[in-house]
């Protein structure tokens, strides 16, 4: 039982980071139907900038939380700038081009950002300074660290904040109007270009925070980290229904949980000996495991495919009138 609880804690933590990154994909898709493949790289740049600042500040002897806060405080504006420039330089000129063109541009931007980061931060795996003494609390046999609690709290706050912004403010109304029909929104006096730019900037700032969280949680950052994280977050967005904000949150958390439970149980589940199959390997308490924990990603994506086969629009579906 404590193992199961622990897997839930693991899955929730990883899943809430996926969810915050997935929001960046889903917001941009919702408003201009573009899959911004460069978003994973924005997350990576967030982690890298924070890494640099934190490393600079560690010798000053400031309290650890202040250092991490300043690091995040620097990463967010940098990522906002990156997000804005990418939209302004790479996507806006192509807004009325066929849909494949911006998609290819997005992949190009992603590669460019990755290599810029390679030039600035080198190709090494950077070890995040472990300044926050991670205390583990045990609740019902499941350990949860201070960092995990912080991640869960920050992600929840970000998601709630975004929901309020989109559904309760004039800016949010403008975003939703633009998503519904950019032309009509423009006729109503909404500055569509500005709204789209703001959407990119908000997505990028969420990505920056997610990058810092990822870095402090796993203790590492590397210029390639954005691609895997981005792919997973994108899948989470699709799982929840791309273009749908609550969908991205749900998709992220679900993907994290499925991964954790998959890795934790798929080996035991596919152990033929446990099912009483008479095999030579089973004699004397042996095991014959069909799919080990190395299949955890496969398992996660099988779940994804199954969901999409049954519900192609994703779990919560893209409610056209509501996307932003």
């Amino acid at each position: 039982m404590d193992t199961f609880l622990q897997q839930l804690v693991n899955g929730l933590t990883a899943g809430s980071v996926y969810a915050v990154v997935a929001l960046g994909y889903t917001m941009v898709y919702g408003i201009i139907q573009l899959i911004n493949f460069a978003h994973g790289e924005v997350v990576m740049i967030g982690a890298m900038v924070a890494f640099t600042i934190i490393n600079l500040l560690v010798p000053t002897g400031l309290p650890p939380f202040a250092i991490v806060l300043i690091g995040t405080g620097c990463a967010v504006p940098v990522c906002m700038l990156v997000g804005y420039s990418v939209e302004r330089l790479a996507y806006r000129p192509l807004r009325h081009a066929p849909r494949l063109a911006p998609l290819i541009t997005a992949i190009g931007v992603s590669i460019i950002l990755q290599h810029l980061a390679l030039m600035v931060w080198s190709r090494n795996v950077l070890a995040f300074p472990q300044i926050i003494k991670s205390q583990t609390y045990f609740i019902g046999g499941a350990g949860i660290t201070t960092v995990q609690i912080a991640i869960l709290a920050i992600c929840l706050t970000l998601m709630a904040g975004l929901a309020i912004l989109v559904y309760r403010t004039p800016l949010g109304t403008a975003m939703r109007a633009t998503a519904q029909n950019a032309q009509v929104a423009g006729l109503m006096g909404i500055d569509v270009n500005r709204v789209i730019a703001i959407t990119f900037v908000i997505g990028a700032s969420l990505g920056a925070v997610a990058g810092v969280l990822f870095g402090t949680y796993y203790g590492i950052a590397q210029y390639t980290m954005g691609s895997v994280l981005g792919l997973k977050a994108f899948s989470a967005a699709v799982l929840g229904g791309i273009g749908n904000i609550p969908g991205a949150m749900l998709g992220g958390v679900l993907l994290g949980l499925v991964e954790a439970l998959g890795a934790g149980y798929i080996g035991d589940f596919s152990d033929l000996c446990q099912w009483g199959v008479p095999l030579q390997a089973c004699e004397g308490g042996g095991h014959f495991i069909l799919m080990g924990s190395n299949y955890q990603d496969v398992f996660a994506f099988i779940v994804l495919i199954l969901v999409l086969v049954i519900r192609p629009q994703g779990l919560l579906g893209e409610r056209v009138g509501d996307r932003s």
Binding site: D2, T3, Q6, Q7, N10, G11, A14, L118, R123, N124, V125, A127, Q130, S134, T136, F138, G143, T145, Y218, G219, I220, Q222, T224, M225, V228, E259, A260, L261, G262, A263, G264, Y265, G267, D271, H287, I289, G292, S293, N294, Q296
Partner: protein
């Protein structure tokens, strides 16, 4: 339009003139013959620091050989160092191997990983180019029967049993969990560890696997925590092993963590922080600190840093190629290959001679532990006998 054409003609003329000048320059000082020595290892990706260290070792040997103005067959030889990046990727490894063959290198030091060395080895073999790895430890590499393949480092089936028997006799675990990163290296060493532990009547849990890019080990570690292992062995590199150990301690796993040579670096202390204290790990051969003083000083002087892991071995590998060429009095791979196979060499890592497969005869294994953020040798295992590191240094002097 006419102006433009004149301009182009002028540029063409200038370029042609420049080429002629360069051409003259080359033939003017051309008393030396150029011989290419290649090095292949990952210079990008998670273990680029190890690749660079390997490259530095070979580069140092080549530069020293140039400074010594070696004469072969009456001609002064200028060795040209050709470094390539295989990204630790088997596919890129074979492409780079073909590139080496096309560049007509006389010999190759590398590759770093077993996973890249094994698919590359038939390409070198077909071209008849000798290749010496200073770090690929998977037994399969030299079991393919290629006459051109050598290694100056021990094999996993020597290293695995060494760390496993050290673990079994010193820590006396009842239950051991074995994890690998699903690479040729990681699986190879994990298999050998499992075999040795089982032979010592120790209960080994069913194998868990990640990949060489895994960052989140928590699901696997949580599952293992439920089985209360006394020790955890991970076959993989430090970029994944560091996070693994850190997450293991965060989950409250109190077991001893043991690693193979891929995660036997000071990087572990940076990647896992305080959690890395007390880990056990093994390296085939002797620790870099135990390499000859001449090598350590030269490396430090040239690169302004200490060797990380296998650079003493790649240094020896490159020197062996050069010495074999001198013995054969030829830089033709066909002619110096037989000399290389029977060379009796003494270098930075001690005496080296190859057996019939191309493996190093009587390779030493070293066991390390993490203490105060640095890995420190604690024992040397040679021909099945364990000796504490302090005793070894005493007897070596």
């Amino acid at each position: 339009m006419k102006k433009l054409q004149v301009g182009i003609t002028l540029i063409a003329a200038a370029v042609a003139a420049a080429f002629t000048l360069v051409g003259c320059g080359q033939s003017g000082s051309g008393s030396g013959t150029e011989v290419k020595i290649g090095h292949v290892g990952p210079l990008t990706g998670g273990i680029a620091h190890l690749g660079k260290d390997n490259e530095n070792g070979a580069r140092l040997a080549v530069e020293e050989a140039n400074a010594a103005k070696i004469k072969i067959d009456g001609k002064e030889i200028k060795f040209v160092f050709v470094p390539e990046d295989d990204q630790a990727d088997p596919k890129v490894g074979t492409t780079v191997a073909q590139k080496m063959v096309d560049a007509k290198v006389a010999g190759v030091v590398g590759h770093l990983n077993s996973g890249t060395s094994i698919p590359a080895s038939p390409i070198y073999n077909q071209a008849g180019i000798p290749v010496i790895s200073g770090s690929a430890t998977n037994p399969k590499l030299t079991e393919q029967g290629f006459k051109t393949q050598f290694r100056v480092v021990g094999r996993d089936d020597q290293q695995g049993p060494a760390i496993a028997s050290y673990l079994a006799t010193n820590n006396k675990p009842k239950v051991v969990a074995v994890i690998d990163d699903a690479t040729a290296y990681g699986e190879g060493i994990a298999n050998e560890v499992e075999k040795t532990l089982k032979a010592a009547k120790i209960n080994v849990l069913p194998r868990e696997k990640g990949t060489d890019k895994t960052t989140d080990w928590k699901a696997i570690l949580t599952k293992l925590r439920g089985r209360n292992p006394d020790a955890v062995f991970y076959g993989g590199m430090d970029a994944t092993g560091g996070p693994l150990m850190k997450q293991g301690r965060e989950l409250g796993i109190k077991a001893v963590f043991a690693f193979g040579d891929g995660a036997c670096t000071d990087e572990m202390a940076k990647l896992a922080g305080e959690a890395a204290e007390g880990l056990l790990c093994s390296q085939a051969g002797l620790p870099p600190q135990a390499a000859s003083k001449a090598f350590l000083d030269a490396y430090k002087k040239k690169f302004n840093s200490d060797p990380i892991l296998y650079s003493p071995f790649t240094y020896d590998a490159a020197n062996m190629l050069i010495q074999a060429m001198q013995k054969a009095n030829s830089t033709d791979p066909k002619k110096y290959l037989p000399e290389l196979a029977k060379l009796d060499f003494s270098g930075a890592t001690g005496k080296i001679a190859f057996d019939s497969k191309g493996d190093r005869k009587d390779a030493e294994m070293t066991i390390f532990t993490m203490k105060g953020g640095k890995i420190e040798p604690i024992a040397i295992i040679k021909s099945g006998k364990t000796q504490s590191y302090a005793d070894f240094l005493k007897s070596a002097k």
